[in-house]
Symmetry: C2
Subunit: 307 residues, 2 copies
Amino acid sequence: MKVTVLTGGVGGAKLVLGLTAILPPETITAIVNTGDDFVHLGLPVSPDIDTLLYTLAGKSDLERGWGRGGETWSFMAALKELGGPAWFNLGDGDLALHVMRLAAFARGEPLSQVTAAFARAWGIGASILPMSDDPVATLVDTDAGRLTFQDYFVGRQCAPRLQAVTFDGAAAARPGPGVLASIAEAEIILIAPSNPWLSVDPLLAVPGLREALIEATAPVVAVSPLIAGQAVKGPTAKLMAELGLPLTNASIAAHYTGLIDGLLIDSGDGAEGVDVPVARTATLMRTLDDRARVARAALDFAGALAS
Amino acid sequence: MKVTVLTGGVGGAKLVLGLTAILPPETITAIVNTGDDFVHLGLPVSPDIDTLLYTLAGKSDLERGWGRGGETWSFMAALKELGGPAWFNLGDGDLALHVMRLAAFARGEPLSQVTAAFARAWGIGASILPMSDDPVATLVDTDAGRLTFQDYFVGRQCAPRLQAVTFDGAAAARPGPGVLASIAEAEIILIAPSNPWLSVDPLLAVPGLREALIEATAPVVAVSPLIAGQAVKGPTAKLMAELGLPLTNASIAAHYTGLIDGLLIDSGDGAEGVDVPVARTATLMRTLDDRARVARAALDFAGALAS
């Protein structure tokens, strides 16, 4: 059974890791948001791609919630000594990814190729596909002006009030190699519990991707990022409030109208106003068992929708 | 008293450090070889400039003989995991220099400007001037073919037999900001005990630099890199043998014919065939006291030549 997951970073990576616990990894494809990608100090950084890589390679830092486990920070210390920018943390080991990517780009290799090489080097069986090899930049219009994603998310900790989100470059971006095929050939398609507006919308803004989802023969199940009207992590709830949206699963389902065949929500949550079939499980993913359970629930739900 | 030193990396940095122990640092200018500079994995690396920076900032690793003290190596470990090239070691803290330089180059800042910013950040009083802001690449013709300097020096540990040295780009390179003025205005000019063929010749290949030395009013004293017919460190002796040159101070003096007014040699060494005045001191620089003594001997000798 081939499963394709549309995903952002941390939350989505947990679901994909859960899938690898119950399916042969070769059957899993993650199509990953690259709207957060940016060039920092000349280095190309792909936060969501790297989170997937670290998570699936078993190298992620589980306590900190981002980056590499066992990381050291000599680079940042030296950077600060030299008066360099300290707002974005780059761990010493993490730098290897960005520097290798810099070298690959200089050789003319696209992001998809260097990502596949990293996954191979680390023995990752699942396919990690950038949504596009073309640059797409998520920009947020806020009461502090238009900000790049990392300035908003890391630099300002999502404090500015969000008004709109745009995906610069998306109109000209082509889906990455294998992206449309993995949607067309999937037997189940999942949308990870990533932020729908900041982490999933960039994928849907790549021309052809939304259409491919609509035309896909596979059932499409989204996992709601809300639990009891709050997001587990990140700015989803704050952002929904600022966009004037009720903090309900109905808002999530409405956001994905026409795209999803079902919404997997938390056991304790209501489904009022949700216009697609609903299934429930405890969607909080703390342990690997949690991740596998949510993944299993999503697959079972999708299977039931298909039959 | 203004002192200008033409220098390569480790050996030259010791002499410059010795000067800072006996003169106000603001009176010292080091004009540094950039022929070893190269782009590694997309990062601009300036080995000799960085050695001067680390040495004068008191951050160099004295035991290893290159790089930063207290360095960590997480980047290299991660790079090897990913199948990246392991032949050139980049320490985690050291990476800050190369990444900051990458970012500065992307902003259009020249090497001289970013070098000065690093020196300021670390409180270095002496001026560290790249010989040129234009790229010059030292290439060595060997029995293993034409090699880049780092491939020859680091990658192959100077094993190939050297036939000739060329400085690619030198003909079009302009002296860096302040370089010619620091030679014209100096009251004493020193040539550090760096490798004359690999580390000092690149400077002399930059159009205008040799002429400035010849026209300078200050006495020019070279410190011989030979002690008892051997080099303290590096491939100088091997290279001289391969070029068919006797391992004598006469060969060093002949190499600098028309440029130097005196040669400072080791206490135990002869001066047969040296066609300029000679002074002697123990030129081996193990301790800071050694460095200050050699610097003092070079200054005193130059002073005597001028009077």
